[in-house]
Every structure is written in C-alpha cells, then in structure tokens.
Symmetry: C2
Subunit: 426 residues, 2 copies
C-alpha cells in the first residue's frame, strides 16, 4: 500500500441542508477525501426565511443556492441529485434511485418533514412549509383566496375565503400568521374594491397552553400581543380534530376557512428507518451518542433534524438551523481528526439563542439572559439572517427587497402563476 | 341628466400587457371614467426579459408586477382576475367566467400565443415562451437535462440529453439559443464531474433563408457569428416536420434531443373570434382601421399582438412591445379626446428601433440608420430594458442580478423545484 494519502477515502453526505453543507464546506480542502453529496433537490435552502417566500416577500432564488455552484471549484466534491432509498451499514453502501454509493464515512442529514399525527390525509387541505414548492403552493393559496373573495357575492362564502387558520404556535406558525395579518392590513389594504382585506380573520391554533413554548414566557406573551395588533387571534389549548376542504374543526367547533396552513410537529426523514443498528425516538429521529454516531458504527454520523442528540443536561437538542450547522462542522472536524490520528472529542452545542419575527418591525430574541422585543429585536433578527444567508448575491438582493418592502409595505413577489403548465416552480 | 361629469363612463380593458397597462395608466386620472381591467393572470409581465427567467438568470418576480398594486391608489380602477369567453358588441358586454361586464369603451389587448401550424400535439415536447409558468417549465427542463446527463452512463443517451434544439430564428429563438450556449460554456462549465457541459449541442432551426429576418442582413450575419462563438449551430432553410418525446425531425433528418423549445410563430388570442363585426387575418389577428377600431364600432379598440394595424406604407406593424405600448397610449388619448368633444386622430407608430441579445455582452441594435453590434449594443440593450421595467424595485433587483451574473458568470436562479406538490410556480 502506497501510504495513506494515496488511498482516497470516500465521504458520502446525504442531504445538503445546514448540517450537510457545512460538513462538506469544511472537508473540501482535504486532499485525502473524495466527497459525494446526495440530495433530491438541486439547491441548498435557507429554511429560516422560507415563510417569506410563502408570504410573497422574497423569491425562491433569494433563499436558495444551487449545491453544484457552491462546490464548482472543488474537483474532489461530486454532487448527485438522487433520492436515497436505504443504507446498508454492513457493506457500507447508500442505495439510491440512481445507483449505489460506497462510503468510508457517512453523514446522514436528511432533515424532517411535517407530520399530521396519523391524519396524513389532511395534508392536501393544510400544507406544511418545508420545501420551495410548498412555499410557492402556500403563496398561491393565500393570494388566490383574496382574488376569489373579491369576486364572491355571498357574504358567508366570502367570509370563509377571508379566514386563514395556521395550526401550530411555534416560530414558523407565529411567523406565518403574523405575515398574513400584516399582508392583509397593509400590503393588500388598497388593492381590492369589493372586499376590505383588513376584515381578514387570521387564527393561530396551538394545542399547548401557550405559543412559542421554547421561549421565555414574557417574550411569548409579548409576541401574542404583537400578533393581536396585526389582527391575529391566538387560540391556545385548542386541538385540531379534523381538516376538510371546507375548513378545520377545533374540538367540536367548525371554522369555515379556505386556507389552512400546517406548522404543527415534524417527523424525521424515513431514511433513518433503514439503519438496522439504530434506535429511533417517537418522532422518527435517529438516537445518536455524543459523537453523533449510531451504536458500533463510528463511521456513520447522523446530524440535524433527523438525529436526536442530547445537551449537557440530557435534554434533546432542538431541531433548529444552529444545531444542524454546528453538528455539520463537528462531523467535519471529527473526520479530520481521524485522518490525522487524533482522538475524537464529544459534540458540544453552543446555544446562541433563538428568535422569531412578527410581521414588519416586530420580533422577539433570546440570547442567554439577554431578551429583546419590538423594533430592536427585529433589526437584530434582520442582521443575523442576512449575515447567515449563503452567498453574496442573495444577501444583497434580500436586503434590497426588504428595504423596499419596509418602506412601501409592498410585497414584490405577489404573483399567481397559472395552472396552464404541469408545473415546476421557482 | 345632471351634466356630463355625473355620468361615469365604463371603460373595460381586457389584458394587462403593454397595451392594456399603458392605456389604463393614462386613463386613471379621468374622474368621468370607471375602469375595469380584466386579466386571467394577476400580474403584468415584462415579456422582453421572459427568456432570462427561462434561462435562470432572473426570478419571476423580477419581471412581473401585480396588476392590483399598479392601481392600488386609483379608486376608479377595478382589477378582475377572470378569463374572457366572448364579446357581444351589440349589447356592449364582455362575458367572462366570473360574470358579464358592460362597457362604454372597450380595449381588447389579449396578446398572442404560440402556434404549431396545425401540429398542436407537439406542444408538450416543445414548449413555447409566453407566460411565467412556461418560463419556469423551460428552466426546469434545461437544468434537469444536465442533471440527467450527469447520471447517464450510455454515451448515446447522454448525447441526446445534452442536445438542445430551439425552433425559430426570431429574436426570442436567438436569445434562448444564445443563453443555453452561454450557460453550458460558462455558468455550468465547472459544476459537473461526469459530463463536460461545454460538449452541449445547441441547434437553432429556422425555416426561412436566414435568422432575424426583421433585422438588417449584416446585423443578422453578425448575430449568427456571435451564436457560433457560443457553440450554437444555426440551421437555416430547415423545416421541422415532427416533434416527439425523443427529439425533432428536420426534413428527413432525425435529431435525438431531450429538450426542444418552440419560438416559431404566433397566433392571436381566441377572443377576437367572438367579434362578429370584425375580420381576422391568417394569424387570427383582428384587422383594425387607423383608429384601431373594428368596422362600425368606434367604441371598440383592439391593440397589441392580437390586432393587425398598418403603418404609413400599408405594411402590418410587428408584434413587439413598443407597438403595443404606443397603441395603448393612443387608445387612452382617443378616449380622452372623445370626452372633451375633440376630433380623433389616426394612430401613427413611431419606430424606435429593435434589438436582440446573444448571451453575455453581445447584442445587435438597429435605430433607423444607426446600427450597433457587440458590447456597445449590449450595454444599450441593458440600459433600455432596465429603464423600461415597470417598477423601481424590479429595476434595482434586476440590475444587481445582472451585474452579479456579469462578473461571476453565475445564474442565481438556477433552481429545480420538485414535483412533490401539484404545483403552482413563481
């Protein structure tokens, strides 16, 4: 054998989200590695801003970057657009719809999708928000509801068209509800002649006792008041029992609503099920040790929303972008340590806080003991998100569109594209 | 009757393209008019840049503006998203899928669509480029062809995937072919590992003796050389005899091509057929007099691509944006003259020239006797198009994206969005 460096080690990364992308970026300069990134989409998505695409504030291209272009200059990085079917940890193979890929190291970071808790048939009537195509679908539904209401003469039908229900009081639900409230009160206020969009009903439904349970209680209360000022009613302790094309049932109460959006609960990617050495938790997440490995497989890492790792206090880490990013970087560091014969160190999450926005110029932020609300929190949120966007062009474009929206209350991407074509988006 | 001003006259404008939008903009300050704009889309489209959306250089929101937002401040302008079914000139009614609209003045400006000259079954295999959804469909097909080629091991199949045929040698065909050539030679050159996108075959097929027949012969020859330098082969005198999922047949020669785009010939909107007083030409265009009226109906105007008007020399005016814009403005002036009891003047087209781009930094422009080629023509094209874009935000955003693409050869909107959703776009 001609020395270690001559034998290229195969690193396969499944999923180019925050975990996968950050791992690959930190491994690409290792000459001893051949890296294969497998994703079913051709783009990395900046998911924290996906609700802005759904709410017509940004275009898909503003928050997504082609994976290939990120690694265009790295000859040792290959990008494959394929769907993973299973992983065989004995033969070290990833099986996809476009062939098998053998690995020396594997990072599984396939993320999560929405779950309807056994009522998956609700999905067509209450789409979730995880992909660009879902975001454009939601945008279509929201804008089309206002158009249909403008043409409707029956007051009851019109009321149903102008009722929007968002299920789930986490950050995504709060951001969606706040954006619909703001859109109807400001952006669309003068656009219609038959209806007054300010009469729009937006209901945020949360099964638990309060919204934003991961935040400090006072911040969550402030967010609720901010939502109220945008016309959003918050119903806590309210469990959805049925969703139909006509609307949603909460307990025994039926709400006629043309648009229902789902932001309530996630389930990890199904790829984890094929790992015969691994245990899954109740949300389908792969339980990993402090090295993000599954039992007996130090060459297999699972990170991001599809894994369940614990913090120092034994609590599961939240499914947020910051955890995924840090885990991706950690996996790269661990593989590099192996290559250099150094010992591995356990993963440690550095909690940098959390944020949520409520419409234009309101937000709540929590950084350790520091808590911000209102305009300052919003500016902070804006800066952090623009800074984090991957790619200079996106940052600048998003900044300009936000500045423009901010001053004009306009939403430039307020487009409905017809059904004339079978339809691919973006 | 309480004086003329007290009786609101109903102006119905069908189609918010260049003709309809410009007419409405110039009529909105007339207190004596109630204006209804009917369009099946919710946006006005800057069609001269549509090929940039198809080629992933721009996002849909960059070249489209919601019609409602243009007229948000005008209480006398109503926007209806509806599909027109027919026009009854006797009862002065426009029938739509959302009810009837009565007019005192009618402007029909519904544009045109592609025609396959009796072979409409070719459309699924050779989409045209008239709407945003067609543009995103074409973008999907082109990007997906490269992805599929990267995964294909059979050299013949791979060659088919990397063969692109553009049918029609007018400005749109030239711009599409040039953009594919440029994308493969620059933008995507380093993105793939198994294929070399520079091996891409791009064939521009034109049935006539030369491309760009409306341009000066020397300019067209220069455009052809520019296309060649981007790897585009131009086949003139070549008539398409069949299009199938496998490719295209030209005369007796079959070309295996995964992607065929149609830019060859247009047919006016079907709305004209319902005008019983009017005569249509062979392309379905409504023949109008020098006041853009149909016979005996001074209250009915037909403008833009769906009308056939003549210039001073008796030649039909071309179906370009500038004609439509000037006609829209003319119709507004005519209605205003009527309101003030002034005589009507015939329409006169002011020819401001024509332009076409060939990839990055090459173009041809013709302004009377002034003819420009190369980089100067391209800068001129850029300035004119940015200036003409409706809405400040779009202009700025497009400018930045172009500047970015120009320096980096990147195409920011290079996104493929999956089929997971039924799919509406943008």
């Amino acid at each position: 054998m001609g020395g270690q460096a001559a034998v290229m080690k195969q690193v396969v990364i499944v999923g180019a989200g925050f975990a996968g992308l950050n791992a690959a970026k930190r491994l690409r300069d290792e000459r001893a590695l051949a890296i294969t990134i497998i994703d079913r989409e051709n783009h990395h998505l900046f998911q924290p801003l996906l609700y802005q695409v759904a709410m017509a504030g940004l275009s898909p291209a503003d928050i997504a970057v082609p994976i290939r272009s990120v690694f265009a200059g790295d000859a040792n990085v290959r990008v494959v657009k394929a769907e993973v079917q299973s992983v065989d940890t004995d033969s070290r193979k990833v099986r996809t719809d476009s062939g098998d890929f053998t690995y020396d190291y594997l990072l599984l970071a396939c993320g999560a999708q929405h779950t309807y808790f056994g009522n998956e048939h609700w999905e067509p009537y209450a789409p979730g928000l995880k992909t660009l195509s879902q975001a454009t679908e939601i945008r279509y539904r929201v804008l089309e509801a206002f158009e249909a209401a403008e043409k409707e003469s029956d007051p009851e039908k019109r009321r149903r068209l102008l009722t929007f229900v968002v299920v789930g009081g986490g950050p995504t639900g709060v951001e969606l509800a706040g954006a619909i409230g703001e859109m109807s009160r400001y952006t669309l206020a003068r656009d219609f002649r038959q209806i007054d969009p300010r009469q729009t009903r937006v209901i945020l439904v949360e099964a638990g006792p309060r919204i934003l349970p991961s935040f400090d209680e006072r911040l969550a209360a402030r967010a609720m008041r901010d939502l109220e000022s945008l016309g959003v009613q918050t119903w806590t302790g309210a469990r959805v029992t049925d969703v139909t094309p006509e609307g949603v049932t909460i307990g025994n109460e039926r709400i006629a609503a043309a648009t229902v959006l789902w932001a309530a609960g996630v389930r990890a990617s199904d790829v984890g099920r094929s790992l015969k050495d691994a245990t899954l938790d109740e949300a389908g997440r792969v339980i990993v040790d402090e090295y993000l490995n599954i039992p007996g497989r130090p060459e297999v890492f699972v990170a991001g929303d599809m894994s369940r790792a614990l913090d120092e206090n034994g609590r599961p880490l939240p499914g947020v972008a910051l955890v995924a990013m840090q885990q991706g970087i950690y996996v790269a560091q661990t593989i590099k340590a192996d290559l250099r014969g150094k010992p591995r160190r356990p993963f440690r999450y550095h909690d940098l806080g959390q944020m949520a926005t409520i419409g234009r110029s309101r937000a709540i932020s929590e950084f350790g003991r520091l808590r911000l609300t209102g305009l300052i929190a919003w500016w902070f949120w804006l800066l952090v998100h623009i800074y984090r966007l991957s790619g200079f062009r996106n940052r600048l474009s998003v900044l300009i569109q936000w500045a423009w929206s901010y001053w004009t209350f306009g939403r430039g991407a307020r487009l409905i594209v017809g059904k004339h074509w079978r339809s691919y988006n973006v």
